[in-house]
Amino acid sequence: MSRARYPLGDYVPGASWLHRAPLGAKFLGVVLLGLGTFWLRSWVASVAVLALMVLLFATARLGARRLLHLLAGPAPLLAAVLVFQWWQLGPAPAVSIVANVYACIVAASLLTLTAPVPALLDGVVSAARPLRRLGVDPERLALVIAITLRSIPYIIGTFSSVRDAARARGLERNPRARAMPVLISSVAYAQRTGDALAARGLGDHGPDAEREGR
């Protein structure tokens, strides 16, 4: 199943410097890079940042094949973005936008591939604890982030399955035949995930649950 193998949310056990780096530092790095891309105006700078992310990926020994797969997943969508932005804004901004998106994807993967999900959840819960005064439930926030991470590969995989199904019926040029099944499948996935969490009593944390186990 193609959706299974999109590697964004799958932790890769290892002992590289990035695996050993503190979770908070890695998280901060991803946030700063994500925000920093808004300020990148030159396509050369965007490509350089992407190259740096690829270099970090290599030094974390996460594998060239995994990197290629990571880049190939959103390629159809980003190709469309590239063409559209080229037409609207010209080649330099188009290359810059796509390189920035790719840099963010690789940066996010450096976090998720080198930190197991339970550690990420615990990290988010700790970081969000001060927000409790504002009514934010840290456990629920962590769960939302974990489920979002889990959903991205699923939805990318659904795009690819639906594209194949449309192709098999000769409907590859019909945008409706490609978009609607992805939408329906994503909503159904969200409902199933919600049911699965509710069935295990996750997500409905009350004050006593906050005290328990942490």
Binding site: M1, P118, R192, D195, A196, A199, E212
Partner: protein
């Protein structure tokens, strides 16, 4: 033993546009106290709705469902802590990338974080799944996935286990593995299935047809009743 009670329960889908309201389950009175209970019924008969009522995933449109005296509508969280639910497709159940991570997710509410990993490993070992702990859930076989989903649910130590067609996606070998695993569990079990062999192990079996419980009795008689219903439909 636990007691699951349904009183004057009706589950309705409200009218929408030109589609009239529809009753998908109607149970005047039902009390489930046996250790091993089965639910047989055709697709769309209402058996999954009956199961989903038992841990509050589905609320009745009217009437009450209680588990050991707790109302599933008012005390849903407490009920869900007592009643574990296993879905037909384990991929719907396993929300984390690997089995270990999924088990640790189950344990978040009850086990301190420094003990979670060891606790998860202990459960995986009990189910013979420890060697698959870090494998992507998508790379597991159907049987391994279903056992992993079962382990994730049992990690929170529910008193009742509800399973919605747990063997539907399994081959014969994995069905047998699941059957043996279920037989060895101490929990009260309520399961819906099309697998007539699985049903024959159970103490009490309900047959659901057209949104009603039309038979309630021993396994052999229930299977015979269900066969008659299906054959009568064909004729």
């Amino acid at each position: 033993m636990n007691t699951l009670e349904l009183r004057d329960v009706v589950v309705r889908i409200p009218a929408e546009d030109e589609r009239p309201a529809r009753t998908i389950l109607e149970v005047p009175r039902l009390s489930l106290g046996e250790r091993r209970i089965g639910v047989l019924g055709a697709n769309g008969s209402g058996k999954s709705t009956l199961l989903r009522l038992l841990n509050g995933l589905q609320e009745p449109s009217s009437g009450t469902v209680t588990v050991n005296g707790r109302d599933t509508r008012r005390e849903g969280r407490a009920v869900r802590a007592d009643v574990g639910f296993v879905f037909t497709d384990p991929l719907s159940q396993l929300v984390m990338p690997t089995g270990r991570e999924d088990l640790e997710l189950s344990l978040r509410r009850t086990v301190h974080r420094r003990d979670r990993r060891a606790h998860a490993e202990e459960i995986l070992d009990r189910f013979g799944l420890l060697h698959l702990a870090d494998q992507s859930v998508y790379e597991l076989s159907g049987g391994e996935r279903q056992l992993m989903a079962l382990a994730s649910v049992l990690a929170v130590e529910p008193r009742v286990l509800v399973l919605d067609e747990p063997s539907t996606l399994l081959d014969l070998r994995n069905r047998e593995l699941l059957r043996r695993t279920l037989a060895g569990l101490p929990q009260q079990i309520v399961l819906a299935t099309h697998d007539l062999e699985l049903v024959l192990d159970l103490e009490r079996v309900l047959v659901v047809e057209d949104a009603r419980v039309v038979f309630d009795g021993g396994a052999a008689d229930a299977v015979a009743h269900y066969r008659r219903l299906c054959l009568a439909e064909r004729a």
